[in-house]
C-alpha cells in the first residue's frame, strides 16, 4: 500500500514536469534536470530531482528571477550508465530550450553530456553527484561545476580515518564504473603512499545476480577489513550481505555511495564494527534542508538530495547575478556566489539571496552542503566520519 501511495504521488509529481514541456523556448529561464530516473540510481534520483524542483519552486514563489520571470524545469533520463542515451536525452533538453543543466548524476554520463552536448552548445551545467576525479581536468570551457567533492579528496579522508584507527591492511572492492574506479584509484594512491597495504582489489558490477565470487576472492586475501566503494542498494550491499553471511568479513569501511539509512535498516547489527565517511557538514544549512524536505514530504537524507538543491539554487542565483539566462554569462558568476565573502545564504533563504543580489550586495551561498567551490569549480568537500550504532548512523567527527 505504501508503495502504491509512493507510485501515486510520484505520478502527481511528474505532472508539473509534463506541463513544463508545453512552454515554448524563450519563455523565461529553463533548467534541464538530467538524472538517471531509470537504471542503477533510480532509487535515489527521484529525491534529487525533487530537491532541485523545490529550489525552483522557492525562487518562483519569491517572484522569479530576471525581472520576475518564472523559472521552469524539465526532467530527462540520463540512465546513469548509457552515455549514448544520456547524450540523446541532453540534446532533447537543448531542443526544449533549456538554459542550464542540473545534472548529470553518474560520473560517466556526466562526462558524456559535458563533452557531447554542454560544451558544443555552450550550456552550463552543475552536477550534484558526479564525483570522479577525472572530471576535474575535463575540457569544460568554464561551463562545468559540481556541488559534490571530487573523490580524490575522499580517498585522502578515508586514508586518514584508517590510519587514525591503526588499520594497516585492507581488502578493496569497488563498483565497476567511473565513480567506483575513481574512488578506488584515489584511495589506493593515498593509502599505499601513507604506508598501508591493499591485499586485493576486486571490482564488482552493480545490479548483478550474485556476488559469491567477489566475496570469495576478497576473503582469500587474508585481510580483515573490507573497503566497499559501491552503492547502498546495489552490488555494494550485496557484497556486504554475502560477506557477513559467509563470515568472510565483519568490519567494513563505507564511503559516501554506501551510506544511507536503508543499508543500516537492512544490515542492522552486521555493521556494528564498521565505519565510513560521507560529504556532510555541521553547518546549520543541512538541518534547514531537512526541515524543508520534511515539509515537502520527501526524504532529504537521501544521498545527493541536498547537493541537488544547491546545484539548482546556484544556477538561478547566478542567472540573477549575471542578469542573463545565457550560460556564457551566468557560469562566470557561480564561483563568486558560492564562495566567501558575503552574506551567508542557507536553504530556504533564496528569496533573501535574490534581494541582496538585486541590491548589488555580495552573497556567500552556503546552502544545504556548505558549498565552497575550489579548483576547477568543484566542492571543497567536508566529510562526516560515521559509525553505526543500534540502527543509527552516528557522526563521530567532521573532517
Amino acid at each position: 500500500m505504501k508503495k502504491l501511495l509512493l507510485a501515486g504521488s510520484a505520478m502527481v509529481l511528474m505532472t508539473p514536469a509534463a506541463f513544463a514541456q508545453d512552454t515554448s523556448p524563450g519563455d523565461g529561464p529553463k533548467i534541464g534536470i538530467i538524472l538517471g530516473f531509470t537504471g542503477p540510481l533510480e532509487s535515489i534520483t527521484p529525491f534529487m530531482a525533487q530537491a532541485a524542483e523545490v529550489a525552483i519552486a522557492e525562487v518562483n514563489a519569491a517572484g522569479g528571477i530576471l525581472d520576475g520571470q518564472q523559472v521552469t524545469s524539465e526532467r530527462a533520463d540520463s540512465t546513469c550508465i548509457d552515455a549514448a542515451a544520456a547524450t540523446a536525452a541532453a540534446e532533447g533538453l537543448v531542443n526544449a530550450g533549456v538554459d542550464a543543466f542540473m545534472g548529470a548524476d553518474c560520473s560517466g554520463v556526466t562526462s558524456a553530456v559535458l563533452t557531447n552536448v554542454a560544451v558544443p552548445n555552450g550550456i552550463g551545467m552543475i552536477s550534484p553527484s558526479a564525483t570522479s576525479p577525472g572530471l576535474s581536468t575535463a575540457e569544460d570551457n568554464g561551463l562545468f561545476f559540481r556541488t559534490a567533492p571530487s573523490d580524490a579528496r575522499q580517498g585522502q579522508v578515508m586514508t586518514d580515518i584508517l590510519n587514525d584507527r591503526g588499520v594497516k591492511e585492507v581488502a578493496l572492492t569497488y563498483t565497476n564504473n567511473d565513480y567506483g574506479k575513481g574512488l578506488a584509484d584515489s584511495f589506493t594512491q593515498a593509502y599505499t603512499s601513507s604506508g598501508g597495504r591493499i591485499a586485493i582489489t576486486a571490482a564488482h558490477e552493480d545490479g548483478k545476480a550474485d556476488y559469491s565470487a567477489e566475496v570469495a576472492s576478497l576473503a582469500a586475501s587474508g585481510a580483515d577489513i573490507l573497503v566497499v566503494a559501491g552503492y547502498t542498494d546495489q552490488g555494494g550491499r550485496g557484497i556486504i550481505q554475502n560477506a557477513l553471511d559467509t563470515g568472510a568479513f565483519e568490519t567494513f569501511v563505507l564511503p559516501d555511495g554506501m551510506i544511507g539509512q536503508d543499508i543500516v535498516d537492512v544490515l542492522g547489527d552486521g555493521l556494528s564494527t564498521s565505519f565510513g565517511q560521507y560529504p556532510g557538514t555541521d553547518s546549520p544549512g543541512a538541518a534547514r534542508f531537512q526541515e524543508i524536505a520534511t515539509g515537502e514530504s520527501f526524504d532529504g537524507t537521501s544521498a545527493f538530495a541536498p547537493e541537488s538543491y544547491d546545484a539548482a539554487a546556484l544556477i538561478m542565483l547566478a542567472m540573477e547575478a549575471a542578469g542573463s539566462a545565457d550560460s556564457a554569462d551566468w557560469s562566470k558568476k557561480v564561483e563568486e556566489l558560492a564562495n566567501a565573502p558575503g552574506e551567508q545564504i542557507l536553504p530556504g533563504e533564496l528569496s533573501k539571496a535574490l534581494d541582496l543580489i538585486r541590491q548589488g550586495q555580495d552573497i556567500d551561498y552556503v546552502g544545504a552542503t556548505a558549498v565552497e567551490l575550489i579548483g576547477a569549480g568543484e566542492s571543497a568537500g567536508n566529510y562526516r566520519e560515521v559509525e553505526f550504532k543500534d540502527g543509527q548512523i552516528v557522526t563521530i567527527a567532521f573532517r
Binding site: K3, L6, A7, G39, P40, E42, S43, N176, I200, A202, A203, H204, E205, G207, K208, A209, D210, S212, A213, E214, V215, A216, S217, A219, A220, S221, G222, D233, R237, G238, Q241, N242, D245, T246, G247, A248, D262, V266
Partner: protein, 336 residues
C-alpha cells in the same frame, strides 16, 4: 585438520553459493528453454516475468504478514508463492492473447517475435515498477541462517567457518521438487507428451490431432510457474530489485544455450555450469592451497585465474566456445 579446513573453505565460498545460484539459474533457464522449444522464440521478457511474479508474491507476503500469518522458521513468501504464480499465469496468458498470438497466426519469423518480446519486456518492467517501486526490497523472514560461520567454528573447532543460509537450502529443495514435477509432467502425462510432440515436429503433431492452442496455453502456465518460483527463490536468497531481474537475463540465456536450447535437462546442467564457472574461475585459491598443502606452500600471490570483473566474460566465453564447437549445446538441443 588442514585438509578439512581446505574443504570447508571451498564449500563455504564456492560450493554452497554456486549450488544455490545454479539452482536459481536452472529454474530460469527451464522457462526460457520451454518457450524456445515449443513457441520457437527467445523470450527476452523472461527476466521481467520473474520480476512480476516476485513482485506479486512480495505484495501477498506483506498482506499475509499484516494478517499475522507466517510460516514459522520458513519465509512467509513460500505461502504467498501460489498467489504470485496465479497472477503471473494470468499476465502471460493475457500477453499471449494480446500480443504473441497475432504474430503466431501470421507465422512471423522468430526474430520478429524476439523483438516483440523485448517490447513486452519494457511494458512488464514498467508494470513491476509501478507495483512495488524501484527500491531494493528484502522480504525474507523466518530463520535466516541454518548454520552460521561462527557457530560452525565453535562446534568443529576448525579455523574456517561454513555458513549455510536457510534460503539456500530452500532454493535447492524447491528447485529439485519443481524440476521433478516438470519432468514427470512432460514424460508421464498426456498433455506433457503432446507438448514434446509439438516441440519435436509441429506439423506431425497437428496432423495427429494435437490442439495447438492448448499446448501453447499449458506452456505459458508452466513457464509462469517456473519463472515465479525462480524469481521468488532468487529474491529470498538475495533481495528483490526490479533492475537486477533485468540483468539476470544474460546468465539465464547463457545457461539455456550452453545446455542446449529447447532441452530441459540441458537447461539445468547449463545453470550449474554457468554458476560454478563464474565462481570457480574467479576464485582466489590461495587459502585452499595453503591448507591443502599443510602449510608447506603458502603462495604470496592470490592464485586467481581471472579477476572478478571478468566474471561475466566467463559466461560469454563458455557461450561462444559451446556455440563454436557444439552449436546445439552440451545436451542435444536445437541450434540457434
Amino acid at each position: 585438520m588442514d585438509l578439512l579446513n581446505a574443504l570447508v573453505t571451498f564449500a563455504n565460498f564456492v560450493f554452497v553459493p554456486a549450488v544455490a545460484y545454479g539452482s536459481q539459474l536452472a529454474l530460469g533457464a527451464l522457462g526460457v528453454t520451454l518457450i524456445y522449444g515449443i513457441l520457437r522464440f527467445s523470450n527476452f521478457a523472461h527476466g521481467e516475468t520473474m520480476s512480476f511474479g516476485t513482485a506479486i508474491t512480495i505484495m501477498a507476503t506483506w498482506g499475509l504478514q499484516a494478517a499475522g500469518v507466517t510460516a514459522g522458521p520458513l519465509p512467509t513468501a513460500l505461502i504467498a508463492l501460489p498467489i504470485g504464480i496465479g497472477a503471473t499465469i494470468l499476465l502471460v496468458l493475457g500477453t499471449d492473447r494480446a500480443v504473441y498470438r497475432f504474430y503466431r497466426d501470421r507465422k512471423a519469423a522468430p526474430v520478429i517475435l524476439v523483438i516483440v518480446s523485448m517490447g513486452v519486456m519494457f511494458i512488464m518492467s514498467a508494470i513491476v515498477r509501478f507495483l512495488v517501486g524501484v527500491e531494493d526490497i528484502q522480504f525474507a523472514d523466518g530463520e535466516r541462517m541454518l548454520v552460521s560461520a561462527r557457530d560452525f567454528k565453535t562446534w568443529t573447532g576448525l579455523e574456517e567457518g561454513l555458513a549455510i543460509r536457510t534460503t539456500q537450502v530452500i532454493t535447492v529443495v524447491v528447485a529439485a521438487v519443481a524440476v521433478a514435477l516438470l519432468f514427470w509432467f512432460l514424460n508421464r502425462t498426456r498433455t506433457g507428451k503432446s507438448m514434446r510432440a509439438f516441440s519435436d515436429n509441429e506439423d506431425l503433431a497437428l496432423l495427429s490431432g494435437i490442439n495447438p492452442d492448448r499446448v501453447v496455453a499449458v506452456t505459458w502456465i508452466l513457464v509462469a510457474a517456473l519463472a515465479t518460483t525462480a524469481g521468488v527463490l532468487y529474491g529470498l536468497d538475495k533481495s528483490f530489485k526490479a533492475f537486477t531481474y533485468f540483468q539476470l537475463l544474460l546468465p539465464i540465456f547463457a545457461s539455456a544455450v550452453v545446455g542446449g536450447l529447447g532441452n530441459p535437462l540441458g537447461a539445468i546442467a547449463g545453470g550449474f555450469v554457468i554458476a560454478f564457472s563464474e565462481v570457480m574461475v574467479t576464485y582466489a585459491w590461495k587459502q585452499v592451497v595453503a591448507y591443502a598443502s599443510f602449510g608447506a606452500w603458502a603462495p604470496d600471490g592470490l592464485l586467481q585465474l581471472m579477476s572478478t570483473e571478468y566474471k561475466f566474460a566467463v559466461s560469454f566465453a563458455i557461450l561462444i566456445i559451446v556455440l563454436l564447437f557444439k552449436p546445439t549445446g552440451l545436451f542435444k538441443g536445437q541450434s540457434v
